[in-house]
């Protein structure tokens, strides 16, 4: 993938300051203020990244542009809690009922490249505290590829290749491109997720060429 072929919408929030200037973000994403999405030419981009703190009311107004982007066989990555049906095939976030910290335990459903070498317990715990990674689910169609779950088989993270011509990646938690400098295996997630974008886009384009 050429540099900055992914478009990342910047919510412009205080927690995002560090990631806004992080070399990984600068080198790999075309970062724009979220409200500039209404006017930017989407043609050069293969992937759209919607972060946890984005204005979903605004993005709902832009729903047709997002759908068209996916219709062209491109990729949308969403991290956070959806309360509006912004993306085809998605439904609003449902929190997990939490009685103990064990309810936050993350498990891998497959050996997917995005989480290769990432330890489940290191996704679950941050400095001994559980719950930062994900706390619920987005209901979805049965046919999606589930990558990570909370206890009771509650999916937090999945890939949907059926709702559109493109691919929708949904993670019901913190922004996965921002797991930097934690001194643990979760540091692998941003580069592996970016590599997956590259691989997934090639796969979609290959399918379209062969069709």
């Amino acid at each position: 993938m050429t540099e900055q072929s992914s478009l990342m919408l910047d919510p412009g929030h205080a927690f995002g300051l560090r990631n806004r200037t992080h070399p990984f973000t600068r080198e790999n994403f075309h970062l724009i203020d979220q409200y500039d999405f209404a006017t930017i030419d989407l043609e050069p981009f293969k992937c759209l990244v919607i972060q946890e703190f984005c204005d979903q009311e605004f993005l709902m107004q832009q729903q047709d542009r997002i759908k068209e982007f996916l219709h062209q066989g491109k990729i949308v990555i969403f991290c956070g809690h959806l309360f509006l049906n912004l993306l085809p095939g998605t439904f609003p976030f449902v929190p997990k009922t939490v009685n103990s910290f064990r309810d936050y335990f993350i498990s891998k459903e497959s050996d997917h490249e995005i989480f290769e070498g990432v330890l489940a317990e290191e996704m679950t715990f941050n400095k001994g505290v559980a719950g930062f990674f994900a706390r619920g689910t987005h209901p979805h169609a049965e046919e999606v590829e589930v990558l990570l779950c909370l206890p009771g088989g509650m999916p937090t993270t999945y890939i949907d290749r059926l709702s559109t011509n493109g691919t929708i990646f949904v993670h019901a938690g913190k922004d996965l491109f921002n797991y930097h400098a934690q001194n643990k295996s979760t540091n692998r997630i941003p580069t592996q997720l970016l590599q997956w974008v590259h691989d997934e886009y090639d796969r979609i384009q290959g399918e379209e060429t062969n069709a």
Binding site: P11, G12, H13, A14, L17, F53, Q56, F83, K127, V129
Partner: protein, 201 residues
């Protein structure tokens, strides 16, 4: 009874805290942030400015929010403030220790500086205790209600900088409650909204 307006960002946690949860009964008006410059604030007594708002829109809104307090209004500001928009704002960002309660002899580092203040008939220090992202160093005339051990303000009220009132806290219960994390934030909001509506400010 004070009428409360909230700047509404379209962020998921704010949707839950202010529009979907039990606290919506305390809110009389929502001002969608991209349209804020055209909003009329004349029917509200209190304006809540949530944490984590868009930098560009916040800077654009600064004059209008400040005018609201010059007209006698009450502004509540939640969370870390890396951009200057509050009168006499002096924000110091600090590393967030969210695991303090797992340490030996755990100490939150918070101190109740004005225990007789009416706010504390609605909430306790424990209800305001989860973690903080930094401190403020307000002007001397401001009332520091909750501080860190070194005197940095985690919660202060400034009635001097403008004709109105600034209730400023580094705490961000609007985010944590709205993202289903940190149960103390619910206890905080359970007391904070009634205090804002009926309490002595």
């Amino acid at each position: 009874m004070r009428k409360i307006g909230v700047i509404y960002s379209g962020i998921a946690s704010h949707y839950r805290t202010f529009k979907e949860s039990k606290y919506r009964e305390y809110v009389s008006e929502y001002f969608y942030f991209p349209d804020f410059e055209h909003a009329s604030l004349t029917d509200v007594d209190v304006l809540i400015v949530p944490s984590q708002l868009n930098e560009n829109l916040l800077k654009q809104a600064k004059a209008k929010i400040q005018q609201f307090t010059k007209d006698g209004g009450i502004v509540v500001a939640f969370g870390p403030q890396p951009w200057e928009w509050i009168p006499n704002q002096d924000w110091e960002e600090r590393e967030t220790n969210f695991w303090w309660w797992l340490e030996e002899n755990p100490k939150s580092g918070l101190h109740l500086n004005k225990p007789s203040h009416d706010l504390f008939t609605y909430i306790s220090l424990e209800d305001a205790t989860w973690h903080q992202h930094g401190v403020f160093w307000p002007i001397q005339e401001a009332e520091k209600l909750i501080t860190t051990e070194d005197g940095g303000a985690v919660f202060y009220i400034d009635k001097t900088s403008t004709k109105g009132t600034w209730i400023v806290t580094t705490l961000d219960p609007d985010y944590h409650f709205g993202s289903y994390f940190m149960p103390a934030t619910e206890r905080f909001l359970n007391g904070f909204f009634p205090w804002l509506t009926h309490g002595k400010i």
